[in-house]
């Protein structure tokens, strides 16, 4: 087996996401390819608002990268936001005659507003902010500034370690135990961080299993997971979402990642997850959803359309790129075909949702860092958490 690069720890990856310099990274990720100023275009409508207020440069950077889609995944987004906020706490200058907590609260509010404009905040981010705010409000005005600053910094640090890093570790460990008998066939969809960790952990533990990675438009990130698994020597099958009914009778367990768990037991996950869970349910295959409890939301949504505005700002061209692979090879032919496609594109509307909702009836259990839970227990966990915060 070839020596493969070790996967970076999630914290390090988040730090790298935030600090990496080259703007090229963003450009190559942007699907238009070749066009200049892509990130600027993507946030052009924000420009007037952006320059009215001054934001912390790190926050600014994080926000723009989220909007361009180069920081994705709810854990990564939350972590990079927290890194930026920690830096904000460090650099915050308290105006005269005001105390630290109150003035930082205002800065935080405008930061939230900014991040929401870049891309609607993920549930993980909302929960992170709620955590910070609740602790900020507890700091009394008599506490000296430096003490408060230090306290807040360590709180943010603690959230990152306890709620995120350790949670990921615990879920990885517990989840890997669920691959328990020889020759299991695990099906997963997309490239969820937790599932990837679980599969790699189980493989390290010497378990014998086969992975089926399902991929689908619009995100097509399953390929990354497949490459990661194959390079480590895990037996892998790669299919597109249309073939799930064909492979499902061989599958023993389905592992899904989730963007968030909602209070009504629905799992909000990248679009297509519900379809996987549905077909798994029809074949009586258990569906395990991996989700840290900091991603539990008190929202109770029933319709995937309510989530339609939570995707990154991205031009939706993918559906029409088949014109490029047409029969005519000469550049002129391709050009005219592209024009034709563009003309038609105006008539065909394209709907691109980022998330869908998987009903609790399809979810066998949720793997969290607290324990294995049924979908109906999400509200209990949330209640417990709000109680702690008060």
């Amino acid at each position: 087996m070839a020596i493969v690069k070790k996967e970076p720890k999630i914290r390090e990856k988040a730090a790298e996401n935030v600090n990496k310099k080259e703007p090229k990274e963003i450009k190559t990720k942007s699907p238009h390819g070749g066009d200049d100023n892509e990130p600027e275009i993507a946030v052009a409508h924000l420009a007037p608002k952006l320059f009215l207020q001054s934001y912390h440069p790190l926050l600014f950077k994080v926000g723009l990268r989220m909007s361009a889609g180069s920081i994705t995944g709810s854990t990564q987004r939350c972590l990079s936001m927290l890194i930026a906020i920690k830096q904000m706490i460090h650099d915050h200058v308290t105006p005269e005659n005001k105390d630290f907590a109150r003035s930082f609260q205002a800065a935080l509010n405008s930061a939230v507003k900014f991040l929401n404009q870049c891309r609607p905040m993920s549930v993980s981010m909302v929960n992170g902010i709620a955590f910070i705010k609740s602790h900020l409000s507890k700091i009394s005005s008599t506490v000296p500034e430096e003490v408060a600053r230090k306290q807040m910094k360590s709180l943010v640090e603690g959230f990152m370690t306890k709620e995120i890093e350790l949670a990921v570790k615990a879920i990885t460990k517990e989840g890997a135990k669920k691959i328990d008998h020889d020759g299991e066939v695990i099906l997963t969809y997309g490239n969820p961080l937790l599932v990837k960790n679980i599969l790699l952990k189980a493989f390290m533990d010497g378990k014998n299993f086969h992975v089926i990675v399902v991929d689908a438009k619009p995100r097509m990130v399953g390929k990354d997971l497949m490459k990661c698994l194959v390079s480590r020597g895990v037996k892998t099958t790669y299919i597109q979402i249309n073939a799930i009914a064909h492979v499902m009778n061989k599958v023993t367990k389905v592992f899904l990642g989730a963007h968030a768990m909602l209070a009504n037991g629905y799992a909000m996950a990248s679009i297509g997850s519900a379809q996987i869970a549905l077909v798994a349910d029809s074949f009586n295959v258990p569906v395990l959803v991996c989700c840290e409890t900091f991603k539990f939301s008190e929202k109770a949504i029933l319709d995937s359309f309510a989530l339609s505005k939570s995707g990154p700002l991205k031009p939706q061209e993918d559906f029409f790129n088949y014109g490029n692979t047409g029969k005519s090879k000469d550049s002129k032919g391709i050009k005219s075909k592209q024009d034709e496609v563009q003309k038609k594109e105006k008539k065909v509307n394209v709907l691109s949702l980022s998330y869908d909702l998987t009903p609790p009836s399809f979810i066998t259990m949720i793997i969290t860092e607290k324990s294995f839970l049924p979908a109906s227990s999400v509200s209990a966990v949330i209640r417990n958490r709000t109680h702690e915060l008060q």
Binding site: K227, Y238, I241, A243, G272, Q275, S304, V348, N349, D356
Partner: protein, 361 residues
């Protein structure tokens, strides 16, 4: 059925040029079920006119031979076989009619209608040998073929004209893949009312994109969605209308892969699923086990994972099936050129369309 001599097979081959169609089927050059049907009809017409035969029995064995050749060309493809079976049934019916007109024949007053008691007795199997030559049988068969030809030609319009019973104004329709019948169906309805159509892309072939463009050009409010969004939009959909590759004898479908998830999602949301299909797509085949390997067709994985992405493309198993089996309980109805039927009625259509002796051998 007696085996044909080598000479006879050679004659059939040269007269009907069946090898050309076999080759085209193997290479996948014949696109669309209608084209396949017409080419098979062409071939059979040549066979009736060109081959030497005396009685219905001779002709039946000639056509059975052609049917064998065609089904071997592509065992997954059902349309050419169905057409041959249909014509065989026609020949048998013509023979029975002719013989009932002839006084002195042993089967005077034979009733062509089938019924349950008769199936049990199987009187027809025992009495008819189709060996008697009749003067005007050839003419009658040629007439039958031209009738069938015009039926095939009109089938798209016939299906389309039934759309007004199925769709009503303001509804939201979901479809997937590319089907000539569905396209005509929706376009016909769009002349009389406005509605919205969601089209799933049907990756990896991306056929849905083509359909979406055609519908949009016809002025229908069309929205293209990725396959992954099927479940998410289902609550908004009033009706799912899809085409199919073939209809199995139990009323199940062999349809483009992804249809199972689509049909099951529809069932889950209690959205009715209607299938538009010409009658010649009904096949006497069953899916015996749910292990779909023999039933399915697998194409190059290149569409999913390009070869140049080595070493991953060589170390990964990539599955790219073309079809999905959709069980009859997920289908609410068929719209055919003969009329609208439920899956439970398909077995009855089968006995109207084909003769048991031809497909049970």
């Amino acid at each position: 059925m007696d085996k044909l001599s080598e000479d006879k097979i050679a004659e059939i081959r040269s007269v009907t040029q069946v090898d050309k169609l076999v080759e085209d089927l193997k290479l996948g050059k014949v696109n669309g079920c209608y084209l396949k049907a017409f080419r098979t009809m062409d071939l059979l017409e040549k066979g009736v006119k060109g081959c030497a035969w005396n009685s219905a029995q001779d002709l039946i064995s000639i056509f059975t031979c052609i049917g064998d050749l065609l089904s071997k060309a592509d065992p997954i493809e059902t349309v050419p076989t169905n057409i041959v079976l249909r014509v065989l049934k026609g020949i048998r019916d013509e023979y029975v009619t002719a013989s009932s007109k002839n006084p002195g024949d042993k089967s005077i007053g034979f009733d062509t209608e089938e019924s349950l008691p008769k199936m049990m007795i199987s009187d027809d199997l025992a009495t008819h040998d189709y060996a008697q030559p009749f003067k005007d049988l050839k003419e009658n068969i040629i007439d039958y073929l031209s009738e069938l030809d015009s039926e095939l030609e009109a089938s798209v319009e016939n299906i389309a004209s039934k759309s007004l019973e199925q769709i009503s104004s303001g509804q939201v329709i979901l479809t997937a893949g590319k089907s000539k019948s569905v396209e005509a169906f929706l376009k016909y309805a769009a002349k009389y009312m406005t509605f919205q159509v969601f089209v799933a892309e049907s990756e990896p072939s991306g056929n849905g994109t083509e359909l979406a463009m055609k519908l949009a050009e016809a002025g229908i409010n069309t929205i293209l969605i990725p396959d992954s969004a099927i479940f998410a939009i289902m609550p908004r959909v009033n009706k799912v209308i899809i085409g199919t590759h073939s209809v199995m004898a139990n009323g199940g479908l062999k349809a483009v892969s992804g249809s199972y998830a689509l049909a099951y999602a529809a069932k889950n949301h209690s959205v009715p699923l209607t299938v538009c299909t010409p009658i010649f797509k009904i096949t006497p085949n069953y899916l015996i086990s749910h292990d779909q390997v023999a039933f399915n067709k697998f194409v190059s994985p290149h569409q999913i994972l390009p070869f140049h992405e080595s070493p991953f493309s060589t170390e990964t198993e990539v599955v790219n099936p073309v079809f999905d089996y959709v069980p009859p309980e997920l289908v609410n109805g068929f719209v055919t050129n003969w009329g609208c039927y439920t899956p439970s009625y398909v077995y009855r259509l089968l006995s109207e369309l084909y003769h048991r002796r031809d497909y049970l051998s």
